[in-house]
Amino acid sequence: MPSLSKDVKAQVEATRLPPILSLIEQSQLIKQGAEAKVYKSTLFPSPLCTPSSSSSPPPPALPVLLKHRFPKTYRHSTLDALLTRQRVTGESRALVRCLKAGVKVPGLRCVDVKQGVLGMEWIEGWSVREVLGGGQEGDELPDEDGEEEEEEPDDVQEMLKGLGVDHDSLLQAVGAEIAKMHLAEVIHGDLTTSNMMVRLLPTRASPNDPLFEVVLIDFGLSSVSFLPEDRAVDLYVLERAFASTHPVSLLPSGEEGVPHFEQVLLGYKRAVEEKGKKGECSRIEKRLEEVRMRGRKRSMVG
């Protein structure tokens, strides 16, 4: 009976993993982020794209980052499926928009909305959080893998210092990159120091340029807007993240230096004034002031 063979076929299909998930199975888990598991994998360029006749060696395999929004069993499956779909499409659209505008973000490699997988360019570097060396302090928790996490930032900081990357220029570069993103009408929605990477450049673009660039990652909560309100809220989220993890930089003398966020804002304003519309910068600044006031108003009642 034809229907039976169809059923069997469907069953076989059902047991087979979707291709993107079997790729993930062979990949290396990098970390479990807030809402997704992040894997490192390699993609080989398709033989159809490379001329087979050429004697040159095949192009190298590309490292890619796979971000899998795995089903969250704590939430209702309908809600989960809806949110995953919205976020995968939203994130890929935001990335494309940023890429078009020249904002430093990871390039898009593949999208699977149904499985909730996004493939992106692999960024070699460190998160700004690692570079600044913040985190939850307090009772030192006995933590099996805490050791390596603790030690790395020191090495990173030493190495970056050797390359002439100081905190101030890094923070200003962060601000400038956010400004570029905002001018592309993208709102990140979750600006934290964990969501920014520092990548070293092989050469300086021009003698005055730094040897590193800041790459914004994780556009999972991004939206599209050009309103000063949304931009200000975006900045405010970052300010709060700074305030809770790394409030100020410590000067070598042990004194407290300029708050980190001030440096970010400095870089941001400079970039908006340079590339944005006239008066745009002051509008955002004014709105940020308002958002701060409003944030304070939630000074907890009850």
């Binding site: 807030a34 069993t73 302090e137 307090g138 009850g302």
Partner: protein, 453 residues
């Protein structure tokens, strides 16, 4: 597990037992508790207390009296203050009696300084001042939220968790850093308890024992998930829109209220049905001012005084840990061909699922950001078992665990104020009489937590 060079805990073990009386009344619960911190003894190790606190803690009494309003109504500050005034003396007496102590034995009187409703706070502060002056005892003003966190840590013995504080007035994700409880995420508008309570009022659920508990009960009967706005912004959430959207469903032609809007609720009908007018549109019951005053003065239907338990050990504490393949929602989908209606149960279910998913998401975000493994849920909404279950699944997936307390310590109580106040007192802090005012606005991160390393 190897304990790495931990910073020394600044809190020294007490040289003699110290007894604190805690007075809480920031909202509709009046709570009085007595707590004793004693020096560590050979036979009782410090296991029952938080690991950073040398010495042992025992809870001697924990008495609470709740002001319960009729269905469809919230509690007004003036009436709540009236209720607290009415019951303060009796609750304090009962707390002392059940602990077998007198005011002379008390070393310090602790009270809620804020945040909360102004009038009830003032009433309780007045009681605290009176007791302190009558018996010549020092006073300590306590931040309500810090009280919740410290009690949660005490009861669950979780040393340094990420704290989700969810109650009628507050919704915050908190982590400890550098002697402050820092707020990582919070609600941008209304608190989650407020959202649930107000929705309970809209659909006319009873406020006894609490609107949240009745929502939870109702939600278990819910069968379909209705789309509601899902608003997380970074680590913050917004709940106002969710409430409006849920309310809008009650005007949907498919909506079928289960309780006919007349003569509902056992607590109102018996007393004086003639005073209750029904505003048909929203189903809000209106109660005359005299009736409200009467109830606040303790004459109407009331939850009786509760002795809410003494145990310090985490034995009755729900420590939800994920077993492989934790159960998700166990509500069957609506059968085929079923009538397309929306019931209050469906709305409660959808509201809980959506709002709690948002809470768990921001907690997970904070965990990922600071690298914590343990979650502690405190505050009245923390009693909700569905929230505990969802959080347990999330934490389990991250290789962590969730700690929560039951209604004895989740819901506002005197012990939390006594415990947090005593910690500050042992660090040498006292509130001078001139500064024993209270404040409606008092952020968690304003408090110097100098008893932690």
């Amino acid at each position: 597990m190897v304990k790495r060079a931990a910073r020394p805990c600044p809190l020294q073990a007490p040289t003699k037992p110290v007894l604190a009386l805690g007075l809480e009344g920031s909202a509709n619960k009046l709570g009085v508790g007595l707590i004793l911190h004693s020096p560590p003894s050979a036979d009782s190790p410090t296991a029952s207390t938080s690991s950073s606190d040398p010495g042992s803690v025992s809870i001697l009494s924990n008495i609470r009296h709740t002001y319960v309003t009729p269905p469809g109504e919230g509690f007004l500050p003036s009436d709540t203050a009236r209720h607290h005034k009415r019951w303060a003396a009796e609750v304090v007496e009962k707390a002392l009696a059940s602990a077998g102590k007198t005011m002379e034995d008390v070393d310090v009187v602790c009270f809620t300084k804020g945040p909360g409703m102004g009038a009830p706070l003032q009433t309780v502060a007045l009681v605290a001042r009176t007791l302190a002056l009558m018996y010549n005892k020092p006073l300590v003003g306590v931040n309500h939220c810090v009280g919740h966190i410290e009690t949660g840590r005490l009861i669950t013995a979780s040393p340094s968790p990420i704290v989700l504080y969810v109650s009628g007035g507050n919704t915050q994700v908190i982590a400890y850093s550098q002697q402050r409880y820092r707020i990582f995420g919070e609600t941008l508008d209304i608190a989650v308890g407020n959202c649930l309570d107000r929705f309970a009022r809209i659909i006319g659920l009873s406020n006894d024992p609490s609107p949240g508990a009745n929502i939870e009960k109702e939600a278990k009967k819910g069968r379909r998930l209705l789309p509601l706005p899902y608003a997380t912004k970074g680590m913050d959430i917004s709940l106002g829109g969710v409430l409006s959207a849920a309310e809008a469903y009650t005007r949907d032609p498919r909506f079928r209220p289960t309780n006919p809007p007349k003569g509902k609720g056992s607590s109102t009908s018996a007393e004086d049905p003639s005073t209750i007018k029904i505003n048909g549109k929203t189903g809000t019951a209106m109660v005359s001012q005299e009736e409200r005053r009467r109830r606040a003065a303790g004459e109407g239907p009331q939850a009786s005084m509760q002795d809410v338990g003494l145990s310090t050990g985490p034995k009755k504490v729900a420590k939800v840990q994920l077993e492989a393949g934790g159960e998700a929602v166990d509500v069957p989908p609506p059968a085929e061909g079923e009538e397309d209606i929306i019931t209050p149960a469906d709305l409660c279910f959808s509201l809980q699922e959506t709002v709690f998913a948002m809470l768990v998401e921001i907690t997970e975000r904070a965990m990922a950001h600071v690298g914590g493994r343990e979650v502690l849920i405190v505050g009245g909404v923390g009693c909700n078992e569905r929230l505990q279950q969802m959080m347990g699944i999330m934490a389990g997936e991250r290789g962590g665990s969730v700690f929560s307390t039951d209604e004895r310590f989740c819901i506002d109580n005197g012990i939390m104020i006594a415990h947090a106040g005593l910690l500050a007192y042992r660090m040498g802090y006292e509130t001078p009489l001139e500064e024993t005012s209270c404040t409606q606005r008092f952020r968690t991160d304003e408090v110097l937590v100098n008893w932690r390393a």
